[in-house]
């Protein structure tokens, strides 16, 4: 039944999923394994601010870095941080979210604190935390967790509460299933669909956070390539007309985020279809 409905889902959605995932995989693999035309961390001081050409496809920046090589290389750094942060946020958020579906004071208190916490300008908090703790990469992940985990928590709790309404959980509890077992065996598999969708969305928004931080010079150690830092390097050139320095890394962020959202949309449609 499920597979039948799945095949009835519009092909367009599958195209979105496949295209999005392929682009992301290709970018990541290219940055790890493909030989780049120039060394992404060694500038050529004789070729600064060259416009895009056959030698330098995306041009060069004011120090003489090849923008193309650095744009590709940065994918190998930014994407794993964004995904890793989102994944960690998912683990924590899902765990707390499942716990919050249980009745009791604790879960009410948790939701209240979450309200107050999320009312806070979290990006500001993240920037402060990363800087104050010495600008380390792990702390960028921590910042992502702070921003993204509450979203997972809310989502899983909402879905979990809806599923708890369904009979079989009650039945399991009546025949004496341990609460933890109920959470892990009965609830978790049923919320895995929405978690997958949210993970894709969270990776996109984490990438934005990583980019914002590294744009401010936070959490990066030059000359390691990072899209946000590259845009920062091109910021001054924008008023001088050298658009390529900032545009290409920006385009990379744009495409990756669009792909991640495509994947999320497609997963949403496909998973929702098959669960009906």
């Amino acid at each position: 039944m499920a597979s039948l409905l799945l095949s009835a889902a519009p092909m367009r959605r599958h195209v979105g999923l496949v295209a999005g995932a392929l682009f992301l995989a290709a970018l990541l693999l290219a940055s790890w394994f493909l030989p780049l035309p120039y060394d992404p961390i060694r500038p050529d001081a004789t070729a600064t601010l060259q416009p895009p050409s056959a030698q330098h496809w995306f041009g060069t920046d004011s120090v003489g870095f090849d923008v193309f090589s650095r744009t590709i290389a940065a994918a190998g750094r930014d994407l794993p941080i964004a995904f890793g942060g989102a994944l960690a946020a998912a683990l924590i958020g899902v765990f707390l979210g499942l716990l919050a579906t249980t009745k009791g004071r604790g879960s009410a208190l948790l939701m209240r604190s979450l309200d107050a916490f999320q009312a806070f300008p979290l990006l500001v908090l993240a920037i402060a935390i990363v800087t104050l703790t010495g600008n380390r990469l792990e702390m960028v992940m921590f910042a992502i967790i702070i921003i993204e985990a509450p979203r997972f928590l809310r989502l899983v709790r909402a879905e979990g509460l809806a599923i708890r309404e369904a009979r079989f959980i009650e039945a399991a509890e009546v025949i004496g299933a341990k609460p933890l077992r109920v959470l892990l065996v009965h609830l978790l598999p049923n919320v895995s669909g929405v978690i997958a969708v949210q993970l894709s969305i969270a990776t996109a928004s984490s990438l934005m956070v990583v980019a914002a931080l590294s744009f401010l010079g936070i959490g990066v150690s030059p000359p390691d390539p990072s899209w946000g830092a590259m845009i920062q390097a091109g910021a001054r050139q924008m008023t001088g007309g050298q658009w390529w320095v900032a545009l290409f890394p920006g385009l990379a962020i744009f495409l990756v985020v669009v792909c991640l959202n495509l994947v999320a949309d497609a997963l949403d449609v496909i998973l929702e279809r098959s669960s009906r």
Binding site: A116, Q118, A119, F120, P121, L122, L123, V124, L125, I127, A128, I129, T131, L132, T133, G134, N135, R136, A204, M208, A211, A212, F215, L216, G217, I218, G228, I231, G234, A235, M238, T239, G240, G241, W243, A246, L247, G250, I253, F254, L255, V257, V258, N261
Partner: protein, 367 residues
């Protein structure tokens, strides 16, 4: 929220109330509303307290030593100890906490490590500019976002909806600072439509006498219309940049709620009564009003973070730019002040919008 249920499941009231007068009169409702206001006001000290605590903990229990972060890893123990005592980090946690909270409550945020200025003065100087930026951006974003969201929700599934969804998806994927740079390139470098992105007032204009610290208001008070025009001209790009980030959020929530409302019994009934489509859209927007306002409150926190970066790009000279500078320079008292002020402002907006929602919706029982 304690709204009364209006859906089909609404239990019919017993026959005995059939001939009774309306249950709740207007005066009672008004009194109850002021009760809610009082309750929310009572919540403010709590919010303030929470914000101060977060900002304190930020420096106190985070892994890593702020003193070391300030001095760099080459510092010797002597220097680290000096800075630690300057920061008060050598005293016990509880004592530091009490001192800090006490100071802040008296308006004493300490002095900047670098300029030596009282943090409070800096906040008073820079906060109004940020407020002006965020308010203008939110207004613009609300106008555009709600308009296109309504269009999409009204035409759900048809061409205008699809176009709006593409716009939303596109805007969502552009980081705010990149949008700012692209706008600078197009409007300043290519087309020369706006002045250079350096500050709020042109070089030829002089700052008006400070009355409210809000530049726009001070210019109006001083009657300096040229200056006002120049400032507004220079505000266009930063406001647009910040608004671009918020437009998709307004558009999405409006599209969803208006789209849902269009299929509701209420709208079908409005049409059955022969109301015009304009009126029907107005009814749908009335239904969407509460979710949009609630969402605006949540958006505000994100706007404050986003505006810090945009202010830096455009040299806006607001609290965000000041705060980011402080963060990069590890000016700890300034960072703490920045976190407290931004956090408190967002919580305040949250409370105010909550009250606005309550005031606008006659169904909410203020209890």
């Amino acid at each position: 929220m304690s709204t009364t249920n209006t859906e089909a499941g609404d239990a019919p009231s017993p026959a005995s109330t059939e001939l009774m007068a309306p249950a709740v009169g207007a005066p009672r409702r008004r009194r109850a509303f002021w009760g809610l206001v009082a309750k929310r006001l009572a919540f403010i000290p709590l919010a303030l307290f929470a914000v101060i605590t977060i900002s304190f903990l930020l420096v106190s229990i985070m892994p890593g030593d702020p003193a070391l972060a300030i001095l760099g890893s080459t510092a010797n123990e002597q220097e680290v100890a000096t800075v630690r005592s300057q920061l008060g980090l050598d005293r016990p946690l509880a004592e530091r906490y009490v001192t800090y909270v006490g100071g802040v409550l008296q308006g004493d945020f300490g002095r900047s490590f670098f300029t030596g200025q009282p943090i409070r003065d800096e906040i008073v100087k820079y906060l109004p500019a940020s407020i002006e930026l965020v308010v203008m951006a939110i207004l613009l974003a609300a106008l555009v976002g709600i308009s296109i969201g309504t269009l999409a929700g009204y035409c759900r599934g048809r061409a205008p909806d699809k176009a709006v969804r593409v716009v939303i998806a596109g805007l969502e994927a552009i980081p705010g600072f990149l949008a700012g740079l692209l706008l600078i390139f197009a409007f300043f470098y290519l087309w020369r439509l706006v002045p250079s992105p350096t500050g709020r007032l042109g070089i030829v204009n002089i700052y008006p006498p400070t009355v409210t610290h809000f530049l726009l208001i001070d210019l109006i008070l001083a009657g300096d219309w040229n200056g006002l025009r120049s400032t507004l001209h220079r505000s266009m790009l930063p406001v647009l940049t910040l608004a671009l980030a918020a437009i998709p959020l307004f558009a999405k929530i409006t599209r969803t709620t208006v789209g849902g409302a269009m299929g509701s019994k209420q709208i079908q009934y409005a049409r059955a009564c022969g109301l015009s489509e304009w009126r029907v859209v107005q009814y749908a927007l009335l239904q969407a009003r509460t979710p949009i306002l609630t969402y605006t409150a949540m958006l505000f926190g994100a706007m404050v973070g986003g505006s810090a970066i945009i202010e830096t790009i455009f040299s806006w000279q607001g609290l965000g730019q000041w705060g980011l500078k402080a963060i990069v320079a590890l000016d700890i008292p300034a960072i703490q002040g920045f976190v407290i002020v931004t956090g408190f402002c967002t919580m305040l907006v949250y409370l105010v919008l909550d009250l606005v929602v309550a005031a606008l919706d006659p169904r909410i029982q203020h209890g």
